[in-house]
Symmetry: none
Subunit: 186 residues, 2 copies
Amino acid sequence: MKLKKKDRQEQLTQMIEETPFITDEELANKFGVSIQTIRLDRLELSIPELRERIKNVANKNWNETVRALPIDEVIGEVVNLELDNLAISILDIHEEHVFSRNQIARGHHLFAQANSLAVAVINDELALTANAEISFTRPVKLGERVVAKASVVGNDQKRTIIEVKSFVNNEIVFEGKFYMYRNTDK
Amino acid sequence: MKLKKKDRQEQLTQMIEETPFITDEELANKFGVSIQTIRLDRLELSIPELRERIKNVANKNWNETVRALPIDEVIGEVVNLELDNLAISILDIHEEHVFSRNQIARGHHLFAQANSLAVAVINDELALTANAEISFTRPVKLGERVVAKASVVGNDQKRTIIEVKSFVNNEIVFEGKFYMYRNTDK
DNA sequence: TCCACTATTAAGACTAGGTCCTAATAGTAA
DNA sequence: TTACTATTAGGACCTAGTCTTAATAGTGGA
């Protein structure tokens, strides 16, 4: 038996979410209904047309661009980014980040958040960490939210110096100074 | 005076690279030529139409988004361990460790290998990284095998100092000095 | 069984942002 | 002037839609 309208619309929503590059025609075939039905469904569900969906996916990243690092490769969620100036990301500490023994976040996760933010803030095709001085000023526990703030503090020909400070509730938990290689001269 | 064809085409290429979401019509206005001229230019330069360009950007993002990269619990494979003395682990650099753009291993993976080795070598219930000075001496590429060697170089009441050196084919790629907190006094 | 109602399908006009093709015109160098 | 490149114009066609109107199918209730 054919799906009821409601079920079809639920599956449709999910399918488009999973594979947004699907046309109405393909959807119509999958569900064994006409294109018009699919269009009515999209209308009711406020799902934009294919070309708009593609644009949204494209825009998501292009939106004032992370050049050295695609934004989804940053550890943590970037909430603010001004290239060559500053960047902020948040990372919620979950089970997979902590030592099972004591529920304390493993250092490399904090480092990864800070380091990838340092890479992201650099407005260049290539950015690699050369050196870093870091300190973990207090342990971070399961469930805490770490806010990392990266700011560019210096530039010479081939290097950029970035300071990252990470906080939990305004309390500093990590501090790092990253000396980064860039691809191009300033 | 109007731009020569060659100059226009150069600028066109650059402009589309910078802002790929631009239509032929907008380009035609910017250069003060007809739409047809822009289309001939794109044809000669093998630049795809707007909708294709958007698709490319979207696709790229989609591919990179889908491939989430959480850091594995296992950071390298420990091949030798003498508590309170030295430890060795190996880490093979795969797709998930590198920047998609240039196939160079992301710093935090090398850090994670070294840091987790530093934690492992300490013969104590609790070991946390307090500070670290690290340097990445040469980029590590996809497919390379990183061998990290950690050795305890000092102890005071509450701290242990550990040096980690990571190699690819006997060539040093990473160096770090980790100042670790222990739970118990020595 | 008929009525009301929802769900579905169909058809037509129009859109953006193109492709592909042919043809006319402008500008320039030999 | 001739030959050539560069530019512009126009039309047919394309995809993946939009928006509108209208017809039909299917189902539940009195």
